[in-house]
Every structure is written in C-alpha cells, then in structure tokens.
C-alpha cells in the first residue's frame, strides 16, 4: 500500500540520503535505523509530507502522497509534545479530533486515557503532568484517531518500562488488524517482525 | 544650446544645488552599486580558489 522509491534529501549543502526505497503492505512495519544526524527524522518528515524531497516518489494506495486520503489514513507523532499545556488531556484529545473532522465520543477517549495509565489525570491541565505523562497523552491519540499508517519518530523516548511495553502492545495490535507502522529508534523495539532500513 | 558659458551651465539658473545634487547622487550610487556587486563576486571567487588550493595541498600531503 505504501510504496517509496528513490527518495533523496539534502539539508543545506549536505546530502543526507539518496535512493531510499521500500514498500509496506498491510500488517508490516519498518524500523528506520541510523546514527544521529543520519536523516531519520528528515525521512519521516518527508514521508508524511511536511517537507519535499529532492527526488523520488511516495505512493499511497497507488496514488501520489500527500493526498487528503493519505492524511486521513496517517497519524504522525514526532519529537514535539503536540499537546496544549493549558488544556486537560481529555480536551486535547477531543480538540485534536475536531480539527481532524473525526467524531470522538467520551467513552473512547476516556478508555484511551485509562489504557495509557492516566486515570485520575483526565481533568488536570497537561502543564502539571510529567514529561512521560505528556508523552502518554500524545500516544492516546493512537487509540482515538483511526488511522492505517502510523509514523512514529522516536516514540519510545522518555517512556518508562511499562509504557514501552504498552506501546509495543499497541503497535502489535495495530499491525494484527491490518495496520502499518514506520518507526525510528536506537534501541531494539518490542515489536516482533518488521523490515529494517538503515540510513 | 541655451548655455552661454561653462559657469552658466554649472549654475543651472540658480538651481545648481538641486540639479547637481540629484544627478550627482544618481551618479555616485550607480557607480558604487556595481562596484559593490563586483567585489561580492570577486570575494566568492577568491574564497573558491583558496578552497581549491587547499584541496590540492591536502591531496599532495596525503600522497607524500
């Protein structure tokens, strides 16, 4: 479903990578590896359509991405917290859903927050939560926002042992229902299978 | 030709300051701008030539 061919990217004068090609089918995931500065994040941003490639093509369901359909199927979590500090976790989830034009009932959002271990913090402003808990609020979007392709950049950072296991389970569940994922990480990931791409 | 003498020409009927001020400013700036642009070009060129020389010297030292 996702076909990437001949992708090239340079930052300023420096060529980061060239001729990156891979494809993903339902239930598959890709582990993007590489040293610091190898261009993992640049590849992720290229992939989701935040920046444009020097060369190469990205096809989603045989159509060139980024299209509206691609964006509907995509969820991207990057380095940023991407949550509003002044709002509560619950408000954050609901406002994000509203911006995306997706219906979200309170049952689903509450269940997502509880699954991510935020019981009792649903109505506190995010500002008072710890860094790891903020990260969990963001991860809750994986449960409230239906998407086929998950692009997670360093999603396992700043998470404790139980959260790492939880995220691993979430990804495994997602893959088993026909989803796809592209992940970057330095450490081995608690998700079975997966293709590897070294930059 | 309406000028009877060089002095009259430069006096510009009493408007010398204004007329020569205008034409003079144009002349000065329109000479200065190309010179600045030219200097910018030669500076880049010089630094490129320096870099190439450095490359050559580097290569020489390595082959020795």
């Amino acid at each position: 479903m996702l076909n990437v061919s001949g992708l090239a990217c340079s930052r300023g004068e420096r060529r980061l990578f060239a001729d990156v090609s891979f494809s993903l089918a339902a239930g598959e995931w890709l582990h993007v590896q590489g040293e610091n500065g190898a261009g993992k994040t640049s590849l992720m941003r290229l992939l989701v359509g935040l920046s444009s490639a020097d060369a190469g093509k990205i096809l989603w369901r045989e159509e060139p991405a980024p299209s509206t359909e691609f964006r509907r199927d995509l969820i991207y979590l990057g380095h940023h917290a991407a949550v509003k500090e002044d709002l509560t976790p619950l408000e954050n989830l609901h406002l994000a859903a509203a911006l995306d034009g997706i219906a979200l009932d309170e049952r689903t959002s509450l269940a997502a927050l509880i699954r991510l271990g935020l019981r009792g913090r649903e109505e506190l402003p995010v500002r008072v939560l710890s860094a790891g808990q903020k990260r969990r609020v963001l991860l809750a979007r994986l449960l409230t926002r239906p998407a086929v392709l998950w692009v997670l950049d360093e999603a396992f950072n700043a998470l404790d042992v139980s959260a790492v296991r939880l995220l691993g389970d979430l990804i495994a569940e997602h893959l088993s229902t026909g989803g796809m994922a592209v992940l970057t990480s330095h450490q081995p990931l608690p998700v079975p299978g997966g293709k590897a791409l070294v930059l | 030709m309406q000028w009877n003498s060089v002095g009259e020409f430069f006096a510009m009927g009493g408007y010398a300051f204004y007329v020569w001020g205008s034409f003079g400013a144009c002349a000065v700036l329109m000479v200065a701008e190309p010179l600045l642009a030219k200097r910018r070009l030669s500076e880049v060129r010089q630094s490129l030539i320096r870099e190439r020389l450095a490359d050559e010297l580097d290569l020489q030292q390595r082959t020795q």
Binding site: K84, L95, L99, D100, G101 | -
Partner: protein, 221 residues
C-alpha cells in the same frame, strides 16, 4: 467548515485559559489613545480633527501586538505540524485561527472604539461611522497580518521583522478607515470609503488564508 469552527473554539478556549495575553492588546489600545491628548494638549477642535487617525493607528498597532503569537505557540509545541497533516484542509484551519485572532484582538477594539472616541469629542454619528469602519477594517488587519506572522514564523528577530513587513500593507486600510470618519465629519459622506474597505476585506478573505497557508508550509519545511 466544521474544522474551521473547531479551530475557533480551540483558540478561544486556549485564550480563556490565558486571559492576560488578550487583555494586553486591549489595554495597549486604551493607553495609547489616551496618551495622545496628553502629548498634544486638550484643545477639543484639534483633538476632534485627529481622532480618527489616532484611533486607527492605535488599533493597527494593537493588532500588530498580538500577531507574533498567532502561530508561534502552535509552532513551538508541534500542534501546527499536526494541523498541516490533518485531513481537514490547512486553509480552513488557518482561516479559523485568523477568525479567532480577530474575535480576541479585533472585536474588542471595535467595541471599545466608541467609548474612546468620546475622549476626543466625536459626536454620535461619527462614532457610528468609526465603529463600522473598524468592524470592516480590523478583520482586514488580522488577515493581512496573518500572512506576515506565517512568513516570519521561527525567524530571527521575527517580531520587528513582522512589523516591517506588515505595516506598509496596512496603509490602505488605515487610509480608508480613518478617511471614512474624516469624510463623515467633513460632511462628504463615508459611503465610498466604507465600500472600498469592504471590497478590500472581500479580497483579503479570499487570498490571505491561501497565502498564509503557503507561507506556513514553507515555514514548517
């Protein structure tokens, strides 16, 4: 359309949690307009003559004050990135943010202007024209300002640069806005000015969100 309203609701909710930021611009407007009589002297005829210009310049600067924050916070915490990747068109979300900015920074000025106009001895009909002119003009200021805010997002010295980029583009709004009130006071009728202001607003509603979106995509790259 729902996405637009959702953005408006979100930004209003956020502003409600941080009231001080909204109130700064309003206080600025009040203080600046009150400073002029103190600097110029209390002569009613003169004050009446310069009132439209002062109120408009103050409104312009007050709008400018809130502009750097329009996208900066969302840019910092990554929510702007999420908006750019949302299935909803970014143009609509941007339009929503601009509308919210106007509701927070522009509308209070419109509502306050008649009160401040009293300081300058403007009569009731002149105050009405002033309010209508600001009602048409302040959204225009928000729309044009949004382009500048997007262009200078995350750029060195962004705030000052924003003023340099946006203020020249504000001149037509200032001329027709203040001109409407002056023409009314002079007995010439303000219809022409106001309809030109409305025409510019229509043009800006159409183009500004589009240009802002393009600038934001460049800034996010």
């Amino acid at each position: 359309m729902n996405a637009l309203l959702a953005t408006v609701r979100r930004d209003l909710l956020l502003a409600l949690r941080r009231k001080s930021e909204v109130l700064t611009a309003v206080f600025f407007f009040v203080i600046v307009t009150s400073l002029f009589p103190l600097g110029i002297g209390p002569e009613p005829v003169l004050l009446k003559k310069i009132a439209p210009g002062i109120l408009w310049v103050a409104a312009l600067l007050a709008t400018l004050l809130g502009l750097p924050r329009l996208f900066a916070a969302d840019h910092m915490d990554g929510t702007l990135e999420q908006m750019a990747l949302s299935p909803s068109p970014l143009g609509l979300l941007v339009a929503g943010k601009i509308l919210a900015h106007w509701l927070l920074c522009g509308l209070p000025l419109v509502l306050l202007a008649p009160v401040l106009g009293l300081q300058f001895d403007l009569d009731a009909s002149a105050l009405a024209v002033l309010t209508v002119a600001l009602l048409l003009g302040t959204p225009l200021l928000s729309l044009i300002g949004a382009i500048g805010a997007a262009l200078t997002l995350g750029v060195r010295g962004g705030g000052v640069l924003l003023a340099l980029l946006v203020l020249p583009l504000y001149i037509p709004a200032l001329i027709f806005g203040a001109g409407a009130v002056e023409a009314h006071i002079a007995g010439l009728g303000s219809g022409g000015h106001l309809s030109l202001l409305a025409a510019m607003l229509a043009l800006a509603v159409f183009f500004a969100p589009w240009a802002t979106t393009a600038a934001l995509r460049v800034a996010l790259e």
